[in-house]
Each structure stands twice: as C-alpha cells, then as structure tokens.
Subunit: 394 residues, 2 copies
C-alpha cells in the first residue's frame, strides 16, 4: 500500500475541485478536445488534430485516467522501489533526474480501447467510448527502468515489474485503490537474466519530461512509466511505487481488466492473460466523418501504427472508396523517430459525387493486413478492422 | 523421438565417409578456413575474410556442428510439427516452400562460444576453441515459424517451441541423441497469445535458402531455423521436428549446456537458465594479430553486433592503441539490412613503431559499452570484453 494515498485522499476531500478541476484543465487542452468522461478525465483530440504533426502537441495528446488527477507535493514525493530487490529505494524526484542517465525515447502511446465506439455500435460495451483518437505520439525523457532496477539490485528470480499510481480509483465495493500495471521482465532484458547489458534502443522509461517539458498533471506529473509498444495501460501515470515480483500485478487493471474476453465474467477474467503488446492499426483522420467535399481529387490523411514488437513496421497503407473492391496505396510520411512510433500517411483520391465510404487498412512488415471485420469482444479492446468514414461529395 | 533417426544412423554406418566427409567439404569452404574440429565439423573464417563483405559468402560462413552432417533424402524427408497443437503436421520440403509465404530475413548469426579462445587463455575451457570468427551474416529465405504454427493450430497454453535436428550427437554414455534447441514463445508473438497478428519484421524462419541458394549440407540442408538475435544454438540445422510445449526443451543443449556457469556441475546446470539473446560484441578483423605494418596511418577494420533485442543498435565503435587511455571513433559502414545484423567498421589510426596493442570496444544504443575485462565462465560463453590484436610496426 502506498503510504501517501490516505494523505492524498484527504487532501482531495479538503481542496475539493482543486484536485480534480476540469476548469483548470481547459487551459491545458486544445480547443475542441473531446471529453469522453470528466470524472475520471478521459479526452481525445478530434482526429483531424492528430495528423497536423508527427509529434502530438501536449494539449492535443489523449488523456486516459481511471481515477482522480492527484496533486503531488514534490517536496515529500518519493518513488519507492521494492519487492525482489537487494536494496529497496526511496528516490526523490531530483534523484530520479540526477542519479541516472537521461534518455530520450519517441513513442506512440495508444489505449487498448482505441476505436471502442465502433465495436459498441455492434453491441454496446461499457467503458470510455473512444473514437480513433486514443493514440498520440511524443518524445519522452526519463531514466531507464533498467538502471533504476540495477541500482535496486534486482534479483535473478524477477519475472514481472509492477507499477502503482498515486491516484484513487473507485472500486465496485465503494472503496478506492490505485491504478496499476505490470510488464514481463523480458520487455526490459530479453530472456537473459537482469544484468543491465541487454536493453532496447527504445527502453522502458520512468519519464519526467514530455515534449521537452515536465509532465503535466493529467499526463502523470511528476513521473510515469513509458512502455513503448505496449498498450497505454502499462504506461502508468503518477508513479508511486515499482515492485519487482515473480508474477504479474494483482491490480484490477492487470488481473481482471485489459483482457480480450468473450464475455465479462470472473471466470473469463481468470482464464485470460493480460494484454501487453498493441496491435497493428490505422485510421482516417482527414476528411472528418460527414465532411462535405467537392467531387474530384481530395486529400485523405491518417495514421498507422505497427503492432508492438520492435522491428515491426508499417509496410503500406491503402485507401478504398468501393468497400475494399479496389485499393489505392497511400504515401507514408518520411518521418521516423523510433521503433515504436506511428506513420502518418496521405493519399490523393478522386471522389465521385454522392455519399462515399472511405476505408483504410494497413499492412505491417510481418505480413499482417487489417481485416474487413473483427470479432466483437466484451471489453472492446484492440479493435483494428478497416477504419471508415462516410463523406458527402457534391 | 525422430522416427528417421535410426534410419539415418544406419545409413551413416553403411555409407561411412559419405555422411561425414571433410574431402567433400573442402569444395564448399573458402581456402584458409580454420577447421577447429573435424568430427564434429567446426570451422571459422580467418577474421580478415569477415570484413570483405557485409554478407559473408557461404564458403566463408562459420560452421558449428555438434554431431554428423546428415545426408537427408529429400523424397522421404518430412518436417514434423507436434505437441501443443490442434493439428500435427508432416510437411514435405516442397510443402514448406509452397504452402507458406516466402520471407527474406538478413541476420547475423553468432555462436555463444565466439571468442572462447581468449577466455581459455585465462583458464582452459573445453569446447571448440573459437577465435572471434564464429559470427557471420547472410540473407535467409524461408517460411515464418508463426505461419507454420498457425497451420498446426498452436494452442494458447504454448510457452516454448522446441527444434530437433536430424543429426546424431554422441552422448557421454556412448549413445546418440540429436542436437536440439528451443525458444520462448514471446520471441514469435510478443506476450500476446499466438494469433498470427504480432510478429517481428525479422521473424523466426524455417529457412530453406541461404544467400539465394538451397542450404548447403553443412549449413543445415534441407531446413534449419533462423532465430535472429538469439545465440546460434537456437538456429537448429537439419530440422526434423518442431514441438510446441509449455516448457523449454529437455535436450542437453537447452537443459544443461549453453548456460553461463561459474563451474560446470550438474547443480549449477540445473540452477541456471538457458542463454537466448546474444550480447553486444565487436572484434578487430584487420590487421591480423602479428601483422607487420609500417609506421604511420593504417586502416583498422572489424565488426560490431548489438545485443539481441530488436531496436538495439551499435551506436559507436572505438579503437585504442594505448590500452584504453584514449580512444578514436571508428566509422560505421552505411549498410543496414535488418534489426539483427552487424555493422562493419573502419578506423584510420596512426601507429608508432614497435609492438602495438590495438583494442576495440563497441557501445550500443542501450548505453552498454564493452568492458576492459569480463569474468571467466566455465563454458566460455558470451565473451565480450575489448577485443585486442598485437601488431608489429616498423
């Protein structure tokens, strides 16, 4: 348990809106940001905003929260590292910034529930009704998790690393718990034992900067994990504790949620494994659904992101205006920033008059192509069939 | 057990030298190839041959065998796929080539025992006395293991995939067994369940071509696995059987050998995990040790290879002629061919007259730099301290 949790909850009760204050938030988010829920705060940018820049401006970056946005007193803040380690640590914010090398990693982060709204249209699913905007890209700066674990003298029997946030998430029984995630140790070291020797060029970070500035409150200030290639739920905000273990975290968001389930029952939850890697996905961001366009050549633009094994890449993106009978290859943007970042793409397409359904699909270098249809699942995760928008052409 | 094994052993007995015939081999290997043992056949190229081309010619590619080089009758050959699968398979050679997409992967393969001779100089180690030439790079063509396992309907409880060769390896008790390797399932699918959806751009192959031609007998004809980023022992030649399991292979070369051991005892073997990923390494290939050079500017050349997580890359290679007091940055070659291929490098260094020790070290993008010294281990694996050659300058 986090010893600061009770303090924070009390502080929240005393300061009221100051701890969770959409009014304050508006200063931080771009105009037009789509707030899907305000307690907890979940917001995504209009799709058109995603293709303006390879790196999403902080104010347009999607926000995913499960509880409050904690106000952290940086003077008393400590990052606790414990579990299967020889030397538990209590690191101040400054120590995390100063005792370890600073690493910059460009990474696209996407919610496992991105595009849930499309699955909900088939059969309603509870949870945040995300359109295709629960994905964004930023440059993150932080210490590598590997170096922090090395200082803590991680033990060879380590198999998973848990991350606990400082937030308070309402439980069904009326109590609170923090949001938590965990990752298998191979994400850090491969299958070799922890030695500090084997790491990715896109390592797991304990990040303190996003887009060159300290994390904003809603993006996890003071520290969050960034796990490139894994679903966003493993990049835990307001990081309070790291626990090394021989098993995955017992936190609700690892043990029960963030699983692909045929039906959302305790038995199914127990039977299924947590989701870690993302899947290959793509969406049309421009034109917007319902846009009125002129017949003739129009520019279509969007993003594509390859499934989460390093070395996988988007190979091609295709656009169709005849429901997949014929496809036109899109042009991939030249910008590449890391193994786990998206590609932005554009295609010039001649549109005929009438209501036109524009579809897109991506193919990655593994040979996987997004399918026309994808089976519904009870929590609405990892939806990646063709993305479509209907536009009105005159 | 492989039902063809007894047949092959009998055939070997009948045909004698035809099954293992260094005379035939000489036609296949480059002049000057250094044969470290002839039964089993183990050979490495002179280091100077490694830096002639980014892709090592087949005749210069190092050869690592643990038993005989089996003669396989392609008409009766079958690749068996069994274990935790819904539909066991017996695939002919043609079926492997025709029923699956053909994929090309450039990969550097290196023996875990590369540079063992240097560790042996400290305290003798049994095993092949490899110099730094047990590493080579080729383009491989094959079916992806993922597609073969998908056809076999791999079950969700799969955790490891075993590979068994058709060779006969002498056991201590006088009997024979085949060489075997295995890989954890995450190497294929990440941490998601087998779906065929998540794969690397440098996937594990069941390869039938090397450098555009069928595998030669000593490189595994008709089929071998290629596991990019893992030690060569997991790229099993003369592949006869693939077994899906919930645990690592019980084969000697997974269960006992290819482990980093303080002493080579059964207790230590049981306590330690198999090696999977390679480590970051580099060597000076030119000039050769003992070369006579003229004082002044000389070109130094070699290879460097980053540890086996995709996305890791060689960041820099440095050369020193004063035992590491000062270092000169080498120039990395421009050629890149995949996530798991080496870099060749060169450095122009002014050499003074006298006996000069030239050292090199590589740094990868994880921040790891090859150390001046590395602890000895009982089997002589993963040696990667600075590589040094002494030359005579006049």
């Amino acid at each position: 348990m986090l010893h600061r949790r009770n303090f924070l909850r009390t502080a929240a009760a005393l300061t009221g809106a100051a701890t969770f204050c959409p009014q304050n938030l508006w200063a931080e988010v771009a105009p037009g940001m789509l707030v899907r829920s305000d307690k907890p705060l979940n917001a995504e940018p209009p799709l058109a905003d995603l293709v303006k820049d390879f790196f999403t401006p902080v104010e347009s970056f999607f926000i995913r929260s499960h509880g409050n946005t904690p106000e952290v007193d940086i003077k008393t803040y400590r990052l606790r590292v414990e579990g299967l380690v020889g030397k538990p640590l209590d690191l101040t914010f400054s120590e995390v910034k100063e005792k370890f090398r600073s690493r910059t990693v460009a990474a696209t982060i996407t919610c496992a529930g991105n595009r849930r709204i499309e699955m909900s249209a088939v059969k309603p699913i509870s949870g945040v009704q995300w359109d295709a905007g629960a994905i964004s890209t930023a440059e993150w700066i932080g210490a590598t998790l590997a170096e922090i674990l090395q200082m803590a003298e991680i033990k060879p029997e380590a198999k998973h690393v848990w991350f606990d946030g400082l937030d308070d998430v309402a439980k069904k029984d009326g109590g609170f718990e923090n949001f938590g995630g965990s990752i298998p140790i191979e994400k850090i070291y491969g299958h070799n034992k922890p030695t500090g020797n084997v790491m990715s060029a896109d390592p797991v970070l304990v990040a303190y900067h996003m887009a060159g500035k300290p994390l904003s409150p809603d993006h996890g200030y003071p520290l969050r994990t960034i796990v490139p290639g894994f679903i966003g739920a493993r990049s835990v905000k307001w990081l309070g504790k790291i626990t090394v273990s021989d098993q995955p975290s017992p936190n609700h968001y690892v043990a029960d949620a963030y699983k692909v389930l045929a039906e959302d029952t305790p038995a199914e939850q127990r039977a299924k494994d947590p989701i870690y890697e993302t899947v290959t996905n793509a969406a049309i961001c421009l034109p917007s659904a319902g846009a009125k366009l002129s017949a003739g050549k129009n520019s279509i633009a969007g993003y594509a992101f390859a499934a989460g094994l390093a070395g996988n890449r988007i190979k091609q993106v295709e656009v169709s205006i005849d429901h997949g009978r014929t496809w036109t290859k899109a042009m991939l943007g030249k910008k590449k920033a890391g193994a786990f970042t998206w590609d932005l793409w554009t295609a010039d397409i001649v549109l005929p008059a009438g209501d036109v359904t524009v579809s897109c699909r991506a193919t990655d270098e593994s040979g996987f192509t997004m399918p026309a249809e994808k089976p519904w699942n009870a929590k609405g995760y990892l939806f990646n069939s063709w993305h479509q928008v209907v536009v009105s052409v005159q």
